[in-house]
């Protein structure tokens, strides 16, 4: 059993507040991802949990027991670094068995444990290979084996950007392997894994904690983080987005006519929708728009209050011509750029809202072949189902610039 709890953990390096009142619970057997940009405090958080850095304030509990005074070795966890840190002159067996030597286990016992972890990671029979003879995937498995050697009683594995150094194709397949290994019935690990790639987080996590500037912004399942982000930062971090500024207008009957278009069969999505309410917003277009807002975040709302509407580029839809259906969240414009990207086509559509130009980003699956109709210069309508519009209270222009800036 490993239940981990952090209570009001602070850590500063001189003037830099690396961790700011971190409260977190990680459950036994959970694959937990800490996601955020460079400098968010992810690695510091990991090191504090592992005992490699001591927090200034707050408590760290493993299964209810305060481990703040324990050394990394006494915390009984496996640690795997970004670059694997394999010894180049040692073969697979010796690399894996090294920590046993440090722990002064007897050779017979060591061999038994090494054989076990080799079997779990499908490396049986490769004992004599040197790191230079191994593919990236094998090196990763060896590094993982070594981390697993330390897991005697507890089963906590800590991964610091374990896939960062790899080519894209390999990274994708190893994500899957990592997840299968962690969830395998022999291992059933509790994993804390940090990354700055949202796709990696979504592929692996049971739950994700999104961090920025030393704070945890949101903790949730991939569905919650994606469909009901807590703020603009989280929304933007998970994909390319479009945003519209507008004002709240009192319940207008017309928004209820915006048909439900998506996800009727998706139970997890429906659960999230139940925690949301439809909100009408006037963005200055010819009709009223609508999206959904989290009920908890949206209790007191005033007429004419400033709002922000977010629509992910892959939730935007596109069709030929300019028939703007009053029941839809729709804008009329012209395709100015079109680019094949593999799984998706990406379009930039120039629209006009309130006499100012705006580029709307739309991505559609490339395999449907409808993209052939959408060429540069063609007039189109872009629209989205209201379930896929995300509404926040307007955070202020400063925040929008700060979150979306590319300077």
């Amino acid at each position: 059993m490993v239940n981990i709890e952090l209570k009001n953990v602070d850590k500063s390096f001189r003037d830099l507040r690396a961790l700011d009142k971190i409260n977190l619970r990680i459950k036994d057997k959970e694959y937990f991802i800490i996601l955020g940009p460079t400098g968010a405090g992810k690695t510091t958080l990991l090191k504090v949990i592992a005992g490699l850095v001591k927090q200034d304030k707050g408590k760290i509990l493993f299964d209810g027991k305060d481990v703040s005074e324990l050394t990394p070795a006494e915390r009984n966890l496996g640690f795997m670094f970004e670059n694997y840190a394999l010894f180049p002159h040692m073969n697979i067996y010796d690399n894996i068995a090294y920590s046993s030597r440090v722990h002064a286990r007897n050779p017979k016992q060591t061999k038994k444990i090494v054989d076990q972890v080799l079997m779990m990671t499908l490396l049986t029979g490769r004992n004599d290979s040197l790191p230079e003879e191994m593919s990236g995937g094998m090196k990763q498995r060896v590094a993982l084996c070594r981390a697993l050697m330390n897991l005697e009683q507890s089963k906590l594995l800590i991964l610091d950007e374990p896939l960062k150094a790899l080519d894209a194709g390999l990274r994708m397949s190893l994500r899957r392997e990592l997840l299968l290994m962690a969830k395998s019935s022999q291992l059933q690990l509790t994993v804390i894994h940090i990354t700055n790639e949202e796709e990696e987080a979504m592929m692996l996590a049971d739950r994700i904690a999104v961090m920025n500037e030393g704070k945890i912004i949101q903790v949730g399942t991939p569905y919650e983080i994606y469909y009901q982000p807590r703020n603009l930062f989280v929304a933007n971090f998970m994909s390319e987005i479009n945003y519209f500024e507008g004002k709240y207008i009192h319940e207008s009957p017309e928004i209820w006519n915006i048909h439900k278009e998506s996800n009727k069969g998706d139970k997890l999505f429906s659960e999230i929708q139940e925690k949301s309410i439809a909100v009408p917003i006037d963005i200055g277009a010819s009709s009223i728009f609508a999206g959904y807002a989290n009920k908890n975040l949206f209790k007191k709302i005033q007429q004419n209050e400033d709002l922000l509407l977010i629509v992910r580029s892959n939730h935007m839809k596109i069709r030929l011509g300019n028939r703007i259906d009053q029941k839809k969240n729709a804008l009329f414009g012209k395709i100015i750029r079109r680019k094949f990207m593999g799984v998706f086509y990406r379009f930039e559509v120039l629209v006009n809202i309130n006499d100012s130009d705006k580029n709307i980003i739309v991505t559609i699956p490339a395999s449907t072949e409808i993209h052939n109709k959408f060429r540069e210069g063609i007039k189109v309508t872009v629209y989205f189902p209201k379930e896929l519009g995300i509404i926040f209270k307007h955070p202020g222009k400063e925040v929008i610039r700060e979150v979306l800036k590319l300077e």
Binding site: P37, G136, D167, G169, M202, M203, E240, D266, F340
Partner: protein, 380 residues
């Protein structure tokens, strides 16, 4: 107008012991945004350096606009350079960073001011002229690098992993800005990366390299839809590979491939060059795998199914990853494969359920089986 051509270029290092580039020929047309793509050690950076004049080829010729540029130093090749680590002068202001190169070349002051203002406006940094680069994050530094490169009036941009130092999130947005800028200015650009997703997203043309050789070149669409090797199919995009052998050659130029260990029999392809009993690999993209309930009433549907292959597989698990949802499937014969669908796809399938799988024959690629498929796919 810059057209670039490499003819039979070879480059060796260490007195011929290391073969970095192995007899490659290529053409880059004016206004093309071209990527050199491949895993580390494939020779892409050496190729870039040869084009830039930073290395001389051991054999072969480099032509720019039809003229052999042997012996012409980089600064006289009408090229701007953009680096992964930006190479910005931190002790100079934004303005000085841009004007420095122009001053070194001895241009007149009025010309320098005009060019620097233009370049900084294009990347939207003119308002920061008097500031030092330390106010910027990585995207700002790279914009400054771009301004510096285009201020010289260079018509060719040489870029070595220009997005490599940006956070993945930032890079995914910034790459479109970079492309738009290059296209709007009508520049010819050569961009080296190991990141296939980046190349697919913004290139006009991709040159896939491996072990010093060019494997395939073409538009992202052509490479993606018509990969000529297992390596390219695997390196660009995500692809399922199933091993089998040729059971029958059909009269209409198709063939029947029997997936190993008693898997499905799949009719596909163009059988030119294949023989009965050949071991082959069939490859198909994750997104080209369509899923239906086992009892789906195909006969009642209006869609024409005649060019599709059908077989059954068991759903092992599924995973929501935002823009897409992944379905992991397994054949009774043991092989696994993946289907991806849009993230808001209506999923009513349960783990353990048998599904009907449909794949368009045009989406199935066939290759001769290599000795060791796993090794071939590990990109070593």
């Amino acid at each position: 107008m810059p057209n670039i051509e490499l003819r039979n270029v070879t480059k060796t290092f260490d007195e011929g012991k290391v073969l970095a580039v192995d007899d490659i020929s290529l053409q880059i047309s004016d206004g093309d945004y071209v990527f050199l793509l491949g895993p580390s050690g494939c020779g892409k950076t050496t190729t870039l350096r040869i084009i830039a004049g930073l290395e001389e080829p051991t054999k072969g010729e480099v032509l720019i606009d039809g003229k052999n540029v042997k012996g012409i130093p980089p600064e006289d090749r009408d090229m701007g350079f953009i680096f992964q680590n930006f190479e910005i002068f931190q002790n100079m202001t934004v303005w000085e960073n841009v004007t420095f190169g122009l001053e070194m070349r001895g241009f007149e002051e009025s010309y320098i001011i005009k060019k620097a203002e233009e370049a900084l406006s294009i990347v939207d940094l003119l308002k920061y002229s008097e500031e030092f680069p330390s106010i910027f994050g990585n995207p700002g530094l790279q914009k400054l690098g771009i301004a510096r490169a285009i201020a010289t009036g260079a018509k060719i941009l040489i870029m070595d992993e220009p997005l490599g130092s940006l956070d993945p999130k930032v890079s995914k947005v910034f790459r479109h800005e970079l492309r738009n800028l290059i296209k709007d200015l009508g520049l010819t650009a050569i961009h080296v990366t190991h990141n296939q997703e980046e190349a697919l997203a913004i290139a006009d043309k991709i040159i896939v390299m491996r072990a010093g050789k060019i494997l395939q070149m073409g538009s992202p669409y052509n490479l993606y839809e018509k990969p000529e090797s297992i390596f390219t199919a695997n390196f660009l995009g995500e692809t399922n590979f199933l091993q089998g052998f040729i059971l029958k050659l059909l009269e209409d130029n198709k063939m029947v491939v029997w997936i190993r260990l008693g898997g499905p029999k799949i009719t596909c392809g163009n059988n030119d060059g294949f023989n009965l009993d050949d071991n082959v690999i069939i490859a198909f993209r994750y997104e080209d795998v369509y899923l239906f309930p086992r009892n789906y009433p195909f006969e009642k549907s209006q869609y024409d199914w005649k060019d599709m292959e059908f077989f059954e597989a068991k759903l092992e698990s599924s995973r929501f990853i935002g823009a897409t949802k992944r379905f992991y499937l397994k054949l009774d014969s043991g092989d696994s494969f993946v289907s991806i669908k849009p993230g808001y796809y209506e999923e009513n399938y349960s783990v353990g359920e048998y599904l009907k799988i449909a794949i368009h024959r045009k989406d199935i690629h066939i290759f001769n089986a290599p000795d060791d498929l796993e090794k071939e796919l590990s990109l070593m």
